[in-house]
């Protein structure tokens, strides 16, 4: 692994991309890594395309600018593939992880992303089945962990309990944990 990993999350306002990105950063921090997690604040509103960044490094992070050449791009809303430059700056050999019912090959073709790895999972369907709400951010965490190994699954689950334990009912929490595990196992690459 490189000593710094840079991620970019694409979502829509209200889908929880920032919360998900924070979860990964907070888990990595607990594992002794240096972290940064910051959204790109535009005119924030529900439904508008938004971006959140994560840096994870073995060494202290000095950079304070946005991520321009991510190693990993995560797309939590499938409709964004058509409307925002998803793979802009993405490392040619990087990883693209998309919430979609489509197969990796079809996403690869649509975006003309040839060398890197493409992973897909139907996170919205999993979220609906396990939590009853169409919020794909938590299942996407499972997919990202499987695809990148950026933090171990158990650490992330602990983090989720710690951060959202007070906000969510025990049933909701269990649903979210199940959604993460299900996506972890269901994500496919191609």
């Amino acid at each position: 692994m490189k000593n710094i990993i840079e991620m970019r999350w694409h979502g829509r306002g209200g889908q929880g991309a920032k919360t998900a990105a924070d979860m990964i950063a907070h888990s990595a921090l607990e594992l002794g890594k240096h972290i940064q997690s910051f959204p790109e604040y535009g005119p924030e509103r529900a439904g508008a395309p938004m971006i959140s960044y994560v840096r994870v490094s073995d060494l202290p992070i000095n950079l304070h600018c946005g991520v321009t050449n991510p190693d990993i791009v995560v797309v939590i809303d499938p409709t964004l593939i058509e409307s925002v430059p998803i793979i802009e700056g993405l490392d040619k050999k990087g990883a693209l992880i998309v919430n979609t019912s489509e197969k990796p090959e079809s996403v690869r073709k649509k975006l003309n992303f040839n060398e890197g790895k493409v992973w897909t999972v139907d996170a919205t369907k999993i979220a609906l089945e396990e939590t009853g709400a169409p919020l794909p951010n938590t299942p996407m965490l499972g997919a990202v962990l499987k695809a990148t190994g950026i933090v171990p699954l158990d650490n992330l689950k602990e983090q989720l309990k710690k951060k959202l334990g007070k906000k969510l009912s025990p049933e909701k929490m269990e649903g979210n944990i199940k959604a993460i595990e299900k996506a972890y196992n269901a994500v496919v690459s191609g």
Binding site: A25, L29, I35, Q36, F38, I61, N62, H64, C65, G66
Partner: protein
């Protein structure tokens, strides 16, 4: 032995609020404004949860926030507030009263552009507008520095020979809304480190009556202003001693300025706040290509570290000063004007200005590389094409 601490994920705003929690001021009077909001929100939660002993006074504007903080401080208690942008602008007349009355108020400021047009993102036009207000100014690079400098600022402000208000600045959104791992030291240790506040001239000490704010005309106003400038000179002498105590505790080397690979550098940039972090990465990269680049980071804008800047720059061949504010003088930004004035008559090095990042326009490593390549050109030709340049703007 290293002091006890824990590393927790915090934004710059939360780091300022954590420092305030440990300072446990008697009074906080504040009005929320983006991107400072999270400081006030987090601190209000500490008050509501009974974690601090602070009396929080809700006010209807920043003018009232500063007036209330000022009144409380004059009465003889530790009082704090926090603001950004238009909020600081609305405090403007009261800022001068706080420093003129020599009240040791510490105020986190989250730098944000001033209207108009309206913009909520980072630049330094707000605090640069308060440049001559008699406040001390500290500019922080990251959330860790925000936490540590907010705590240290208490002792600087309250030093009996200084007694000046201090603003501790961080970059709006870039620092205030980015989460980083922040070392938070033990509550009891911090409490001991800053000690109890012993006001020198409390208004409520009825056995030793004092007046704050009487009419001060041709007979004495000038003497009081002269004393105020003397206080900033004394601050300049005392601050290194005060910081050394904090440096020992935090394991840091905080001073007026910080240099990065400047010792053997031929070209350098001078900057403040979060941009300095990005510049470090660029400098490391340039060194790999045998380009002798360095950086001088200015932490204290007041007192202005003129001697330190001159001494650190003596051997350079060309310098670029980066300003995140415009002064509309056609002579460059406020930092440039002061750095250039400090260098004049002392050294003869070409120095140019880059105004950048207004209204939150991001400054990338490529921008800083491009600035360095132009400075390198100046160093080798000795010719300055443009004294004032604008980086990252559409022309």
């Amino acid at each position: 032995m290293e002091n006890k601490y824990k590393i927790i994920p915090l934004t710059g705003d939360q780091a300022a609020a954590e420092a305030m929690r440990q300072i446990n001021p008697d009074i906080v009077a504040a009005y929320p404004i983006t991107p400072q909001t999270e400081i006030v929100m987090t601190f209000a939660q500490f008050v509501a949860d009974g974690i601090v002993d602070t009396e929080m006074i809700q006010v209807e504007s920043e003018h009232s926030a500063m007036s209330t903080t000022l009144g409380a401080c004059a009465a003889g208690v530790r009082a704090m507030t926090a603001t950004s942008s238009q909020g600081l602008a609305l405090m403007w007349e009261v800022l001068y009263i706080a420093s003129g009355y020599r009240l040791p108020i510490v105020m986190p400021v989250v730098n944000r552009a001033l209207s108009g047009p309206i913009n909520i993102h980072c630049d330094h036009s707000d605090t640069m507008g308060a440049r001559d207000s008699g406040w001390l100014h500290i500019y922080c690079e990251n959330a860790q520095e925000v936490y540590e400098m907010t705590i240290a600022a208490i002792k600087i402000a309250e030093h009996p020979e200084i007694l000046l208000p201090v603003m501790v600045c961080q970059d709006g959104f870039i620092t205030s809304h980015a989460t980083e791992g922040v070392k938070i030291f033990d509550d009891a240790d911090i409490k001991k480190l800053i000690g109890e506040y012993k006001p020198k001239y409390p208004l409520l000490d009825i056995k030793n009556p004092v007046s704050y704010g009487p009419l001060d005309l041709q007979d004495y106003y000038f003497e009081h202003k002269r004393q105020q400038s003397e206080a900033v000179k004394i601050a300049k002498e005392k601050i290194p001693g005060i910081l050394s105590e904090f440096n020992k505790f935090f394991g840091k080397d905080y001073g007026y300025i910080e240099t990065y690979r400047l010792e053997d550098a031929e070209i350098a940039i001078i900057a403040m706040s979060s941009t300095c972090g990005t510049a470090r990465s660029v400098i490391d990269e340039l060194h790999k290509n045998n380009i002798k680049a360095g950086m001088l980071k200015i932490r204290f804008f007041r007192p202005f570290p003129a001697e330190e800047i001159v001494n650190a720059c003596r051997n350079l061949r060309a310098i670029a000063v980066l300003d995140r504010a415009e002064s509309f003088s056609n002579q460059g930004g406020p930092l440039f004007a002061e750095v250039r004035a400090a260098l004049y008559n002392n050294v003869s090095i070409p120095v140019v200005n880059y105004i950048y990042g207004l209204g939150g326009r991001d400054i990338y490593t490529e921008d800083i590389k491009s600035i360095f390549s132009e400075v390198k050109e100046i160093a080798s030709t000795g010719k300055v094409k443009n004294l004032v340049n604008y980086q990252g703007v559409r022309e």
